[in-house]
Amino acid sequence: MTMQTVFERPKSLKDVPSHFCPGCHHGLIHRLVAQNLDRLGLQQQTIGVASVGCSVFLYAYLDVDVIESPHGRAPAVATGAKRVQSDKFVFTYQGDGDLAAIGTSEIIHAANRGEAFSVLFVNNTTYGMTGGQMAPTTLLGQESATSPGGRSAERDGHPIRMAELLAQLDGVAYSTRVAVDNPQHVRQADKAIEKAFRLQRDEGRFAFVEILSTCPTNWGMDPRQANARVAEEMIPCFPLGTFKDTQSQEGNQ
């Protein structure tokens, strides 16, 4: 009888504790990214593009080359990077404040041009790093530092669904939404990221993976409540699924 490892830290994930709050899904999503870099043998040719948000320290956890970009501009930075080093693997990792608010223009136009990089979009319905303000993705009724009494459709508009919106653009090869709140969802998220990465590596296509995520700290919940909220409140507003898939043409579910 010997022991065989079933689960361990991926090689591309550095061996250091994270600064994330207890229960925050960012750590898990970092692990999935690292795991897919390992699986596809991409670590040595990867250029990660970090955004501004709780994931700004991407380079502290992923053992790959990283460019830090200004808030919201990761898709523009990645465009510049990938056009210069077109044989490298480039991805951005962005929060919902970053991508769906200040960076709206950059993501839409990078997607529309069909730039050859992959986007990981971590939607936790709030600005985590700055202390829980309302994001474009904040749910109706959700209390936040800047939506006292809860987000109101009247005053603030409805939550914006980026995976669906980007699926409209011709340059997008794959647009999907996943979650990581239970093992089954984690597995699906893993597959989605793999697919997105393959689309870049093998076909030079733009792919977009929206990942529903928690922010226990700013939601004012303990980690378990926060995890439960994903299924209870987020998924009803942000349905999981694939909205565009040029490979299988299975989109529009």
Binding site: V66, A76, V77, T79, E106
Partner: protein, 356 residues
Amino acid sequence: MSQSTPARVFLKGNEAVCYGAIEAGCRYYFGYPITPQSEIPALMSSELPKHGGQFLQAESEVASINMLLGASACGARAMTSSSSPGISLKQEGISYLAGSELPGLIVNISRSGPGLGGIDASQADYFQAVKGGGHGDYRMIVLAPHSVQEMYDLTMHAFDLSDRYRMPAMLLGDSLVGQMKEAIELRPRPEVELPAKDWIVTGKGERSEQRIVKSLFLGDGELEAHNRHLQAKAEALRANEVMAEEVALDDAELVLVAFGAAARIAKTAVRMARETGLKVGMLRPITLFPFPERHLARLAETARRFLCIELNTGQMVEDVRLAVNGRREVHFYGRPPGTGSLPTPEELYEQIRESY
């Protein structure tokens, strides 16, 4: 455009910038349309592909400067160009370039402001360029051409300085030097030795150490040290890279100080003044940062008076005053930019007479 015997070609200033950039090895251009610099993206879009490069029209000025950031982090010589309002939008990105120690060329063919203003030649972006329109303590290399030839030459030089100091560089032109045409020599790029770019991100490849391009420094004392390092680079520039043209300064009692378009117009005025026997010369800063402080300090010993001329209500004059430090009178004549407001040589000649 690489060739051994320089040809003489009749070009717009904006076009000369493109040929200079390409000769300097710039292969990536990211920009967004704006008058009066439209010839630059137009020419780059047709020329770059011929040299194996890429032209990309971005969705905005903000996107352009950040594409430049990405390209530069990956080691490419890259540039963007715009004009005043567009340059304002690039300020955050410029501060990030500086903070991340990334080279890159920003061309500002500036126009009249504030706001939408107009498209006439202006020097009202001097402060923005030289003192840092973006946040934080940083300096940017700023070169101010006054002829089409210099639009070509200084573009090349800007790339070299920018790489050497790992600092963004700006070519600060205006619609006069951008739109005018002259016959110029497309000189081959001067040979210069530059430090290896051993910091660029390329994917780790054989390396075991990851590389990170960033401007966030949170460790105790880290950011201060980083700022000191940036400051040291600025000091090195001040010590080593100042450029200025001296016009008829030998016996000058009145020293004009002007750059770019204003200097160009003033050259004729100086000639007119000399023809009438006035001992007038001109110091023309070519590098606005680093500023020719030592030139001015030296002139403050021999000349009687200074007259600073700008196409604005008074910006560079502050740097002139700082350099002269109270030892001589510094007069100022400015024409705020706008349609019909470009000063004429005759007008500047009158000013010379008044200040003499």
